[in-house]
């Protein structure tokens, strides 16, 4: 048993194709990869919304903001 179908390098390399594990599962891998990418945007957006909401609640008086502007932050 071998995860890429090869159990020996006693071959002529010109006859060898893909050497990655679990060949035949490429579509599943792409779906998983896609899910990771889309999921990343969803979670990131939620995190950023929460961060912005916290920023909105902060510094109601505006003092720290004025101080940051004065310090050219």
């Amino acid at each position: 048993m071998s995860t890429n179908g090869m159990t020996s390098w006693a071959v002529d390399l010109k006859d060898v194709g893909a050497i990655y594990p679990f060949q035949g599962w490429e579509v599943v891998l792409v779906i998983l990869g896609f899910a990771f990418w889309i999921g990343w945007h969803i979670v990131q957006t939620r995190q950023e919304n929460a961060e912005i909401a916290a920023d909105m609640k902060a510094d109601r008086s505006g003092d720290e903001t004025r101080s940051a502007i004065d310090r050219y932050y």
Partner: protein
């Protein structure tokens, strides 16, 4: 024609490795930048020098004995045989200097066959392995900033960079290494042989050294000691990423014929190989390096909620985690491994910090130690049953072999470093006194600087008309 092709291949290989060495130097620019960025202002210069001086110290010791260890110890010795003669790697051998392909009548210890192979390759192979060595040593440096004595680190740097890591490379990162032959150990881009061993060493150093003053509250909970310049830290990590390209390329043999490999491969198709002389391509590692890096950065961004330090660190950890199998993974596999392992390492870093009061200033134990360890373990499952070598009679890649190998790598860094640190601690050589730590290790340098500024300022003001 055949001779000309061989000569061209040799010169191409020489140039290839030379380029990787130059690129790998960026790793050390990155390490220095990164550590200085993490340290507080009163510790900058000693922090810089602590890391930078690992470069010459590991270089000279790697010349004296490190390079020879790699070729002499693949059998253990005592596991599969004795020491292997490697005269071309002995510091006094004429091939450890400028040499052409012949043998002078007065030369001793040089065979025509060794001269033919090594006259152009010895220096660049030595240099490439040396840069791996310095990287391994440098990984420890960041963890221990602001309280470790520089001299103590430099002793550990030599121990790790010129003895321990190259010993594990002889065992598990050499075409004839006993771990490869007997265990089917596979670690193509050094998750274990560089990163796990360095993480193990860093953890041992930290256990004996103790945390920085102020790191833990009276109730034992940790305080955040933020980097003084997070932007500089991230640039440092960016530079490490860049240097890592050279690291990856240097782990390959760029061009070799099946006849030269002299294994089981048939036919006439020339190929690039990994360190075990098994076929791979630069395209494979380009796909997988970038996808693992991306997985690590994306995963790190989410797990750390966008923290720049950890997003960049997790990118590095993603590459490290996929490195053991990045010659063979599919790019999406590399991406997913690169995303998941760093998230685990991030959680482990804070767990270990809280539970065991370990103050790792840069998270090196997590990024390199846990990331490298898990990367080797994952490769054992992902590549199960595949040939570990082009030679006959080698064990196939398997989970048990890689798990045992990962443990061995981590412990080979941990145990000798623990012993060495305890000895130095007993001699009062490991840590600066509390007064010096509070003043900052740059205190004398800063005092001299301020005195000079005052004197020059006074002199210049006196000249104003």
């Amino acid at each position: 024609m055949g001779d000309q092709l061989n000569a061209l291949t040799t010169i191409f290989t020489e140039f290839y490795y030379w380029v990787t060495i130059v690129i790998m130097f960026l790793i050390h620019v990155g390490f220095c930048t990164y550590e200085v960025g993490v340290s507080r202002r009163r510790n900058h210069l000693k922090t810089l020098m602590k890391n930078a001086m690992a470069i010459p110290l590991v270089t000279v010791t790697f010349f004296f004995f490190g390079w020879w260890i790699y070729f002499a110890f693949p059998n253990g010795p005592g596991i599969m045989g004795g020491l292997i003669p490697a005269p071309f790697a002995e510091a006094w051998n004429p091939l450890m200097g400028p040499h052409l392909s012949g043998v002078n009548p007065t030369e001793t210890g040089v065979t025509p066959a060794d001269a033919l192979i090594w006259h152009r390759l010895n220096g660049v192979f030595w240099g490439a392995f040396l840069l791996f060595s310095i990287t391994t040593a440098s990984i420890v440096s960041g963890s221990i900033i602001e309280r470790a004595r520089s001299g103590a680190f430099w002793i550990i740097a030599v121990l790790l960079g010129s003895v321990l890591w190259i010993l594990d490379a002889a065992w598990g990162w050499h075409p004839q290494g006993w771990m490869v032959k007997l265990w089917g150990y596979h670690d193509a881009y050094a998750s274990g042989v560089v990163h796990a061993i360095a993480g193990g060493a860093a953890l041992a150093f930290l256990i004996v050294l103790g945390p920085r003053i102020g790191k833990f509250r009276a109730d034992g909970t940790p305080r955040d000691l933020p980097p003084h310049n997070t932007w500089l830290v991230c640039i440092g990590l960016f530079l490490i990423y860049t240097g890592f390209w050279g690291f990856y390329a240097a782990c390959n043999i760029p061009l070799i014929s099946p006849a030269t490999i002299a294994g089981q491969i048939t036919g006439d198709t020339w190929t690039a190989t990994n360190i075990y002389l098994a076929p791979t391509t630069l395209s494979a590692i380009t796909f997988n390096f970038l996808m693992a890096l991306s997985g690590g950065m994306m995963g790190g961004y989410l797990i750390s909620k966008g923290d720049p330090f950890w997003t960049f660190s997790c990118g590095l950890c993603g590459v490290i985690a996929a490195s053991a199998g990045n010659d063979l993974y599919h790019p999406i596999q590399a991406m997913l491994i690169g995303a998941i392992v760093p998230a685990i390492c991030y959680k482990l870093h804070y767990y270990v910090e809280r539970r065991f009061k370990i103050d790792d200033a840069v998270g090196a134990v997590a990024v390199h130690g846990y990331g490298g360890f898990l990367g080797v373990v994952v490769a054992g499952f992902m590549l199960w049953g595949q040939p570990s070598s082009p030679y006959e009679g080698f064990a196939h890649i398997n989970p048990l072999g890689n798990f045992a190998g990962a443990c061995l790598m981590f412990l080979l860094g941990f145990i000798p470093t623990l012993i060495a640190c305890k000895i130095m601690n007993g001699m009062g050589l490991l840590r600066v006194p509390a007064k010096v730590e509070l003043e900052g290790v740059d205190f004398a340098i800063n005092q001299a600087f301020e005195a000079s500024v005052r004197e020059v300022g006074t002199a210049e003001k006196a000249m104003i008309k």
